[in-house]
Symmetry: D2
């Protein structure tokens, strides 16, 4: 009953096999292995972006922070939602890698900014000449940190706002594959065709060991990115093990298959949750992350039974037993339907019991 995070799951066997296959003899270091050139060609094909440059790193925070540092000047501010991963969960990595840029927070609902809110927030900055922070890139997350999705036209509308102000757009795609299969669109449509300039293309949460691709759709700043990656201690010597993972990920569309599996697992979970009286889904979810609320007492029973997930807005201790408490539930590609069903069964039982509902 593992719903803590999609980074808690295992590496897919085909990725492990690719690592084993890459482990033959000697190879040129630092990305000079032939597999990296193949990979770049493959990603350009997938994204219909023959000029794009591809740079592998091991950690999503690195992809985000290095791309933002490449897009932003230190005296600029990055516009992102008030629940953005780059704001809440990277211990200030964007501020560190950019040399001290600010993050200006855009109000969000269920993790999503509206174009209006983005426009108002950008408009309110840079009204003080040289005295205030200057406007910098817009960063969007899809799948959002709250499990929701921006539809194609929503992404395009946000990008249009950025373009009106002449600002570049970064897309945090830690769960890009999950968004893509949920939206059933092309990688190009979800990125550069909508107006995205730079993409953190996640792999680690979707079956890889530790690889993310930073993709620049405009190659003009690629060399700068290379310097920043090396200086940021993100350039791997035994780089072949990164390109091997990413190669296997793209081979025969494994990445899409894994995302479909994860999304399907989450869908099964949500169907089950929706059928339990007293359980509330907090928003409309279509990818692999779900937020749902039910009484504290039922959480207690599930967690004691070994279920693993985050309590989002409180603790087991602080509050009445019958008060609703939100769970963040994430499914990865390896989620076991039987496990999910067992979880749902336990929750159903807990909710049915007098000790929950009567409290």
């Amino acid at each position: 009953m593992h719903f803590a995070s999609d980074n808690a799951g295992p590496v897919h066997p085909r990725v492990m096999a690719a690592l084993a296959a890459a482990n033959e003899g000697y190879a040129l270091a630092y990305g000079a292995e032939p597999a990296m050139a193949d990979l770049t060609a493959r990603i350009r094909e997938i994204f219909e972006a023959p000029e794009a440059t591809v740079h592998l790193v091991a950690i999503g925070t690195a992809a985000n922070a290095l791309l933002l540092a490449t897009l932003a000047q230190p005296w600029q501010t990055v516009f992102c939602s008030d629940v953005a991963h780059i704001h809440e969960d990277e211990c200030g990595a964007p501020e560190f890698f950019t040399g001290g840029s600010k993050l200006t927070l855009v109000p969000s609902t269920d993790g999503k900014m509206t174009p209006e809110a983005l426009r108002a927030t950008i408009g309110a900055e840079e009204s003080r000449g040289v005295h205030g922070p200057q406007r910098g890139p817009v960063s969007i997350t899809n799948v959002t940190e709250r499990g929701t999705l921006y539809a194609l036209d929503e992404i395009a509308a946000l990008c249009a706002v950025a373009r009106d102000f002449g600002l570049p757009v970064h897309l945090d795609g830690a769960r890009f594959a999950n968004a893509l299969v949920a939206l059933n669109c092309s990688p190009a449509d979800l990125t550069w065709r909508a107006g995205v300039d730079a993409l953190s293309f996640g792999g680690t949460k979707n079956g890889l060991m530790a690889v993310e691709a930073a993709i620049l759709f405009d190659p003009a700043r690629a060399q700068e990115f290379e310097y920043r990656r090396k200086r940021g201690a993100q350039l791997f010597s035994k780089h072949r093990y990164l390109s091997a993972q990413m190669g296997a990920y793209l081979q025969d569309a494994l990445w899409l298959a894994l995302a479909r599996d994860a999304n399907a697992a989450a869908s099964r979970l949500r169907d089950g949750l929706a059928a339990i009286p007293g359980v509330t889904l907090l928003a409309d979810y279509r990818a692999n992350m779900t937020f749902a609320a039910w009484p504290r007492a039922a959480h207690r029973q599930l967690l004691e039974a070994g279920a693993s997930y985050y309590l989002w807005d409180g603790t087991l201790e602080d509050g009445p037993e019958d008060a609703p408490l939100t769970a963040r539930l994430v499914c990865d590609w390896s989620a076991d339907p039987a496990d999910t069903d067992r979880f749902l069964g336990l929750l159903r039982d807990a909710m049915a019991l007098g000790n929950v509902t009567k409290l």
Copy 2:
């Protein structure tokens, strides 16, 4: 005939097996997996340092830069040799991670600083009150970037100089295992007992895929290191694959065996080189890296025959055919004696040919 670098070689099969074994089901992320606690205990035991803290990262530059950032203030300067990896090969990562510390270069011979040179260099700084950079940590590399070794008493003498000035000591041990087996001493003797405060304990060059351990012998700054690691985008979510590698590395002293193999391969190579008239070894080498010089024409023949190594002080093109040119030759744990012998045979033939010696 692969002598380009010990980061060009493969991962040891037992490490690959450990990765496969770690790839079972779900695990807590970010170092909370039980294997990490075991690993810390094991390293404390190996180093006879029950208080030491252990922090895994994937890249040597990250270990170095994060440790230096933890030891140095931005207004201080780090003392290191003029050929230190942190100065020459990290694209300014130490300057970046420290927030702009300087590096003050100590003259070296064959990659080694003398205590006298270190003392003179430290003494010459901080003579200008608040105006000049302030004295900061000393960073030593062992095995040095020039393949030589500091003996135990040499490390201790450098540390004693640092201590006289009240400065902490960092040891860049990208090839720590190679130094240790060559010196035939204990890990404690080569580090904290000699006066080292922080160690970059290398694994990647010695059979791992991508793991280095940053070790702080004094735990006082461990929490700061943790913040810096996260903020520096070096904290892995699927951390279990780092601890698995490092666990296998230490298991049954694999790390020492691999270093012995690499050193032995280098020793076989050096014996062969020494026996070829006209080939000069540049210094006394006992670890896995060797610098040797022979005429350009013979380099040409070797490289055309497929040998792989760095020309250190010139190019094939710029200079007379009979002028000596230095090769850097690095052996890793997987070096094949037959390969080495073939290399030596080719060099012997090239040196014997009129077209080399007569030029």
Copy 3:
């Protein structure tokens, strides 16, 4: 009719005289002039803080940013109001000098944070272990950026919240003298006795040419401040001209007299404004800055007549003539009552005219 800013006014003649007096022959540079030692003693006396250290800089942003850099770690976040000068008007100087700390904004009303809002905001940070930004110093501004004042017990209540979390407190006192005379309390009461650790003690807005004193009530971090000041290019060689200004400022309580004059001028202005039907004062003001609203058409007449002040929430162009628009009106020590009366007269006339009230 100059109400644009208290930094638009002239230097007080006694300060000019002190500069002239300091301009005799040679003097030791960089703060070693005897006047600086006298000044430190004087400030310690005034603040009843015999251990405090005093460091002169020329610009308020420098005092704020250097003090925050001394109090905060790069991975921490500074808590300040959402209209704080350090957030809105320093082009990211705090982020730059701290090495990339965040600023976490506390909701404010009329420029003031409540203890409850501060507690809630601090409480909401650092809930994510190493992943989120860590809690850092609290920064309070008094007189606030909206012209209001924190009373003694309000400052103490905010400091108590900071203390509950173990966080240091910085006070941005660009208009410290104005606050002090308005509150009619002692410098000690308004700072360290209330719980303030570090003070930006303003002078430039109150009759000096360009001097602010950074005061650390706990000397433990004074040496660090010195390094940061030099490295931040804020240590003056001809430092005697800074200590001369600050010396004159404190001599015979000139600083308090100037602040009283500025506050009195603002009081006269407010009394006049309050007497004009249709003019609204936005809050309760007691120092030298006032926000007041009246119809756009009357603004037009005043500005065309040569009055100088900032329109705070709109422009002359965008909106109906009879819609209220807010002016920020700042009085400095040199404000001329006749000038103020002329301004009030013009406004009274404009408001009385049909073309305003009938629109």
Copy 4:
């Protein structure tokens, strides 16, 4: 007998008068005062550079560090002499303002780099692809930190080397006026016509209170400089007192007259020193700074008699009385010939005495 530094002297009376004149009524802040526009026009005229942009700051370190930050990327290294002020005397300000650029030191003699040494040093960097620091701007100081001068053709030769590598050139002109009058050339010849891109145009050491002009001969990066200046806490609110100083400095060529006075004073001093047996001038000096050596015992007598200057290569205490010790002797515009003669007389007497020569 004041030879400690040209920053120990007073402000010229015409500059004080200009400050008094500027102290009338209200003025727009932050450089919007009309005098600043006049000043820019005047500097463009003087430098025959109609496109140049002019930015005032108060401290030489600020001018240097901000200009270098504008010219260099964080992953680049600045080439400067091994005795450059930016390396030795700014507590790492260039590293701080650039975001962690390196400084690569070029060997110098008497403070001067040769084009050959500069070419060799630049050539030796950037040989390691992305791994090493990248080549960045060249920084030259004239008058050098050792009191010597680069002639026009020497500056041009250094700039030509920079141009060969495509690198911009910064000139640290803390004593620019002293160099100019000594070389008897035009400001344009000594800067952009020789190949200089950015100039720190000093005023503080030559009779101002605290003003330096950062001049960009190519305006392309002027806006970036403006952001960096504000963010670096170097933008003065009461900016009129900076433009007033610089205005008076340029008015009727006061700056050149003051530099001529300072250089003449130094010339008188050198003539006197050269005539004293046993006193050695260390190089050929033509500006206002001189290094000369004589026995320790004579230093003792001078210093005890109240002379003020720096001992450059030792202390009064450590060494034999008859061993030579070097003095750095700096003359400012206000140097008094009688004072110089008294100094020379004392030295002559000390050298003639048995207690010196016999030791």
